[in-house]
């Protein structure tokens, strides 16, 4: 699309009509808040958990993560946290990165890093919980 006003006499509205909506609606806004509430609940639980972990050695730390309830809360926390992080970083990139190439790379990197970190964390917890 040519955005040079000298070469293109079409108005921005004319260029946007027909392209359709992003079909996302208020999804971003809502999920940012849903994950925020989840993180408040899981976070308070995990802060309590961390008190027991201070100065703990390897078997104690591993048993704490392997506990069924703790493992579930930890997985929920990790998924919510990196989802929340992806949404938050996305807004920061949209606000501060204005070149399409750099922005695209930043958005991709954001999605890949957050997704990989969540997968790695969940897999580590599953390994510990199932004892392999």
């Amino acid at each position: 699309m040519n955005n040079d006003p000298v070469k293109n006499f079409r108005t921005p509205l004319k260029r946007a009509i027909g392209l359709g909506s992003a079909m996302e609606g208020t999804g971003h806004f809502l999920w940012q808040r849903v994950t925020a509430i989840a993180l408040v609940l899981c976070g308070v639980y995990l802060i309590g958990l961390l008190f027991g972990l201070t100065g703990a050695d390897y078997p104690v730390a591993r048993a704490m993560v392997a506990d069924p309830v703790n493992a579930v809360i930890l997985v929920a926390f990790l998924i919510a946290a990196f989802w929340h992080a992806k949404l938050g970083l996305q807004v920061i990139i949209e606000d501060y990165v204005h070149t399409p190439l750099l922005g695209g790379i930043a958005h991709l990197a954001n999605i890949f890093v957050c997704a990989l970190a969540a997968i790695a964390g969940v897999l580590a917890i599953v390994r510990i919980a199932l004892g392999s």
Binding site: G43, F51, T54, V65
Partner: protein, 111 residues
């Protein structure tokens, strides 16, 4: 004003902290040697400093995030209320960090 940009800054810092936490979980899953290396890294003076900064960033983002959730429901939108709740975020996060580290240091003293 300041709380708005601090929410972003602490959010970005927390992402880095969360990556470190995932690294810790991977170390815990990998075995005692890797966990020892991770624990030594966190326990070093620089690691403790980062952990302390992380704890404040978490406390601030948590309290300020709850503040934003309350504002989403329509409360506290006048400017004096806005300024007052900003101070709650800043002072509250400092108090929370002091309380949490107080408990941690007491437990370390007992161990």
């Amino acid at each position: 004003m300041v709380t708005s940009i601090l929410h972003r800054a602490t959010g970005m810092a927390l992402v880095v902290g969360m990556l470190a936490m995932v690294y810790g979980l991977l170390a815990l899953a990998a075995g005692p040697e890797r966990w020892q290396a991770f624990a030594a890294c966190v326990g070093s003076p620089f690691g403790k400093l980062l952990l302390f900064c992380f704890s404040w960033a978490l406390a601030f983002h948590l309290i300020n995030g709850i503040r934003h959730l309350v504002q989403d429901t329509g409360y506290g939108w006048s400017i004096p209320e806005f300024v007052r709740s900003s101070w709650i975020s800043i002072i509250g996060s400092a108090v929370l960090v002091v309380v949490v580290w107080g408990i941690v240091l007491m437990r370390w003293g007992q161990a």
